[in-house]
């Protein structure tokens, strides 16, 4: 009780407080983060869209501006192409007589001269009237005052030359062009099967000019505008031409406008050089649709890989003429600003919101700490109170005045404490009462056990003695009263074999079968005076020899409290004195029997002997011969009687064991036995009734069987005391013949019935019977393989049933051997 888990207590407190703070911070942070994230996402999206739309608008505006610039240049060029003088000259060349040989020859000569740089040839082209006209137009002589080309535009024109309807150079200005152009795409595109078409060629690098150029090819139509008579080419340095327009448009640090063609080649850009392609080819299809729009691309085209917002728009009029038609190419403006710059405001905002968010979280944590403290303190108080209640140490009521559920809880605690105290008070009394009862019970048990004179030991499963009563203490000389646990065999000093047996019994739970070791009862009749050879010591199975004492012991199981192993009790009974007494008793019994026997024999023999002596004395003095003869007959009778007694006695012991058994007629033997009895006893008042089955032939010795039957008859006659009916019956069954001798005497009491076959047991007066009669009978009959039993009901007579085996092997039963009358011994 006193060892409360103190280390866990502060951990719990800390945990609750930390949890509260964590939850508060969590509850604050999650919406903050979610809101911040959503605001950032939404802000980014809106900025992206706003920027995209702005870029689109800017791209459109720039496209219009550049388109106008190109359109103006085309218009300037077209004005030259519309010059009637030039048209006339070209019509003239067209209509010149077609003497092919002469003309071709002249043209070839001129071409060779031009290619070789002959001054005459160059002069004939560069300084002819058409070239002069070109020069005039270029310098702006024919232009209206308002239509004068800006110097920059003029300077960007690197070449201006005229070809006729065969692609042959007719007039040139500026850098020296090639002589024949009829195979160039731009000439073919502008001539267009003599129909004529504006042709703006995409950017290409011109080695002679040493710059990226584009060309505007304007067909010169005849005066009817019926067909093309020549083509006017203007070769313009792209960078020089467009840079004043594109480079001027800058916004922010990186925002700018650039011009690209549909292949992604940069025509003009403040950052990228003219003629390079966009760094990311995948960007080209995104930014070159024919409609102005904006996209969010994964790269910026300037080498950066960051997500970019790009606005774009095609140059509407110019694109129609690029490479002859809009299908063959188009020019587009491209408006871009570094995404870092675009998203800088939202990132600043994000940073600031993050900072403020962190401040808010810190504030939340500190406020949460304070709040948690306010919540946790009463809870801790309650917890301590609960601990105190658990130890029953809460004396003062809990004082929490928070005015909320905690206060209610504290009140409940106080109430509970009071109720618990009240309940515990009653419980304590009851426990004390019960304890006292238990103690009394234990004391009384101890006293009872101590009062028992038998040593009793209680042993637990580890062979340790838990309790010893006083008798045991005294027996085994154990001094101390509150004994400490001692092993069993320290108390019982036994030899190894006994220890082993005891331990086995102990571990088998003390449940030894006493029946198993009980000796089989002796089946064979035993001579009471014969030495008991197979008599085993009585305590062999459950006796212990400790010192000079002999103990009879017994195990018993003692149930204990649930969860504990049962202990086993050992009860020892000191049988040293008992066995001594028993031995003495047996000895006395034997001695007594011999005395009885001796007395009986003596008595039996003494009476006739005294008669014989008296008759002998009478014969000495008697003269009358008649009387002497009478006396002599009496002496013979007495002698015979003595001989019978002796025969009885000796016949019992050991005689004729090997005598041959012969078939004997049972009825005959009964008759002879009856005759023998009649000679000795008074049978005047006794009626003899014979129920013979007739000629029952059994296997026996004639004289012994006759003696047995005579004994039984004698008993019956004696029991009837002179009056009654003796019934003799014979019967025959499959294997045995039965002789039944029934009298109408008083019967035998139940207590005697079980003992009547015991030697020397008799109900007659001293000297009347030897007590051996029935013993002899049973012995004889059993020797023949038969049996004798006596049934009697007190007051209704006694029936002796003798069963003897019949002759089985002999086919003829009738010729039973006539009874061999043995001579008397």
């Amino acid at each position: 009780m006193s060892t409360t888990p103190t280390p866990a207590t502060p951990a719990t407190h800390f945990g609750l407080k930390a949890k509260l703070i964590l939850w508060m911070v969590f509850v604050g942070v999650v919406p903050l983060v979610v809101g911040l994230g959503m605001a950032f996402w939404q802000g980014s999206r809106e900025i992206r869209e706003v920027s995209g739309e702005s870029f689109k608008a800017l791209a459109m505006e720039a496209a219009r501006k550049l388109d106008l610039l190109v359109a103006e240049e085309i218009a300037h060029t077209a004005r030259i192409a519309n010059d009637p003088a030039i048209i006339r000259e070209l019509e003239r060349r067209r209509d010149a007589p077609h003497d092919r040989n002469i003309e071709n020859q002249a043209t070839t000569d001129l071409e060779q001269g031009w290619a070789a740089g002959e001054p005459a040839a160059i002069k004939s082209i560069m300084e002819n009237p058409l070239s002069a006209a070109l020069q005039e137009h270029y310098t702006g002589i024919h232009s209206a005052p308002g239509q004068l080309q800006p110097q920059v535009v003029r300077a960007s024109t690197k070449r201006l030359f005229l070809t006729d309807s065969h692609g042959t150079l007719v007039a040139a200005m500026g850098e020296k062009p090639d002589f024949r152009h009829d195979h160039t795409p731009w000439w073919q595109g502008a001539f267009h099967k003599a129909v004529g078409r504006l042709y703006i060629e995409d950017l290409r690098f011109d080695e002679k000019v040493n710059a990226y150029v584009f060309t505007i090819s304007v067909p010169v139509m005849d005066s009817l505008r019926y067909e093309v008579v020549g083509v006017l080419h203007r070769v313009i340095d792209a960078k020089q031409f467009f840079s004043p327009s594109t480079h001027a448009i800058r916004f922010g640090k990186t925002g700018h406008v650039m011009l690209i063609d549909s292949n992604g080649i940069v025509i003009s850009c403040p950052i990228l050089p003219t003629g390079v392609s966009l760094s990311d080819r995948n960007l080209v299809p995104l930014v070159t649709p024919l409609q102005p729009d904006w996209v969010e691309a994964s790269s910026d085209g300037h080498g950066g890989q960051s997500t970019s917002v790009i606005g774009f728009a095609p140059l509407p009029e110019t694109s129609r003429a690029t490479n002859g038609s809009i299908e063959n190419g188009s020019w587009h403006t491209f408006v871009w600003q570094a995404s870092d710059e675009i998203f800088a405001p939202i990132q600043h905002l994000f940073t600031w919101v993050t900072v403020f968010g962190a401040v808010a979280v810190a504030l939340l944590a500190s406020l949460g700490f304070a709040a948690a403290g306010r919540i946790v303190t009463p809870v801790r108080q309650l917890q301590q109170a609960a601990q105190a209640i658990g130890r029953s140490e809460l004396r003062t009521p809990i004082e929490i005045r928070t005015g909320d559920e905690l206060e209610d809880l504290a009140d409940e605690f106080n109430r509970m404490n009071q109720q618990l105290n009240a309940a515990f008070a009653g419980l304590t009394d009851q426990v004390e009462l019960k304890t006292q009862e238990v103690q009394v019970l234990q004391q009384s048990t101890d006293q009872i056990l101590d009062a028992v004179p038998t040593p009793i030991l209680l042993i637990d499963a580890d062979e340790v003695v838990q309790y010893i009563n006083r008798a045991a203490r005294e027996s085994f000389q154990i001094q101390q009263e509150p004994m400490s646990p001692v092993p069993l065999f320290d108390i019982l000093s036994l030899d190894a074999a006994a220890q082993k047996q005891l331990r086995q019994e102990f571990h088998s739970g003390g449940s030894r079968s006493t029946l198993k070791d009980r000796p089989e009862p002796d089946a064979a009749p035993r001579d009471p005076l014969a030495p008991a050879a197979d008599h085993r010591p009585l305590g062999g199975r459950s006796e212990l020899h400790i010192g000079s004492r002999v103990y009879h012991y017994q195990w018993f199981r003692l149930p204990t409290r649930p969860g504990h192993q049962d202990s086993i009790g050992l009860v020892l009974r000191d049988t040293t004195d008992d066995s001594r007494l028993h031995d003495q008793l047996v000895q006395a019994e034997k001695t007594g029997s011999l005395g009885v026997l001796t007395a009986g024999i003596g008595h039996e023999l003494n009476n006739p002997l005294f008669s014989i002596v008296g008759l002998g004395e009478a014969i000495e003095e008697e003269q009358s011969l008649e009387r002497v003869k009478t006396y002599a007959r009496d002496i013979v009778a007495h002698g015979r009687r003595m001989a019978n007694v002796i025969r009885d006695f000796t016949g019992v012991t050991n005689r004729d064991a090997l005598d041959q058994q012969v078939p004997v007629s049972l009825e005959e033997e009964l008759d002879q036995a009856l005759a023998t009895v009649e000679t000795a006893a008074d049978m005047k008042g006794i009626a003899v009734q014979k129920n013979y089955a007739g000629n029952v032939c059994v296997l026996a010795q004639s004289d012994q069987l006759r003696q047995a039957l005579a004994n039984l008859m004698t008993n019956a006659v004696q029991a009837m005391k002179g009056t009654g009916t003796l019934t003799l019956t014979t019967g025959l069954s499959d294997r045995t013949g039965t002789a039944t001798i029934a009298d109408s005497g008083p019967g035998i009491s139940k207590q005697h019935l079980s003992k009547i076959f015991d030697p020397f047991f008799t109900t007659k007066e001293q000297g009347e019977g030897s007590g051996l009669g029935l013993t002899v009978v049973r012995r004889i009959i059993r020797k023949f393989g038969g049996d004798v039993r006596i049934e009697s009901t007190e007051g209704q007579g006694t029936t002796c049933i003798v069963t003897v085996p019949i002759v089985t092997a002999a086919p003829e039963r009738t010729p039973c051997a006539p009874s061999a009358t043995h001579s008397e011994p």
Binding site: V195, Y226, P316, S319
Partner: protein, 197 residues
């Protein structure tokens, strides 16, 4: 939307084939016994009738219906916008295709107040013809013109504002010099040029 362009092309090619058939019939007619050649005035009349009919069908049954159903509209920058060409552009474009075919006969739209200068009258004859047609639009102005040593027959037919689309476009286009055209007014002319070899 691309199909519209194909539709347009198909129509143009169909017209061309029709016209070629008509043109091819001229030499046959010539070869026929007892007949002189067809005068260029007749050829120009035939062609003009076909052009007028085609453009009317295009304007009435294609552009108006497409726009009316909101499927696709006719705009000036029809190539970029993936839309239908304006009826005037239809005529010009088919004229370009006819010219590119190399048959020699050509026609184009001209006007005194063109949005693009290339559609202004090229010669004094055309200018005068347009001027005359504004006052007397009943008959076409025909005549022989020369370019250098080449001779051509030219017939200029009056071209009226057949639909409101024509009028509104010309009256609102920033490049248009005249912005007060009326419906059914003669806005310009169709110049058909036939080379005389």
């Amino acid at each position: 939307m691309r199909s519209i362009r194909y539709t347009f092309r198909t129509i143009a090619i169909a017209l061309l084939i029709g016209w070629l058939w008509a043109g091819a019939s001229v030499p046959f007619a010539k070869d026929a016994p007892g007949t002189a050649g067809i005068p260029p005035e007749k050829v120009a009349d035939y062609l003009h009738a076909v052009l007028e009919a085609d453009r009317t069908i295009y304007t009435t049954y294609i552009v108006n219906r497409m726009q009316g159903k909101g499927i696709v509209s006719a705009t000036e920058h029809w190539e970029q916008d993936n839309a239908l060409p304006l009826p005037a552009q239809f005529l010009q474009h088919s004229g370009r295709i006819v010219a590119e075919s190399g048959s020699g006969i050509r026609y184009r739209l001209i006007g005194l107040w063109p949005i693009y200068q290339r559609n202004a009258p090229a010669t004094e004859f055309e200018r005068k013809a347009l001027d005359t047609l504004r006052r007397q639009p009943e008959r076409p102005i025909t005549g022989l013109v020369t370019s250098g040593k080449k001779q051509y027959f030219q017939a200029i037919y009056p071209d009226r504002a057949v639909s409101t689309a024509c009028v509104t476009c010309h009256n609102s286009h920033p490049l248009s010099p005249k912005q007060n055209f009326q419906l059914n007014e003669v806005m310009g002319g169709i110049a058909i040029t036939i080379p005389l070899e």
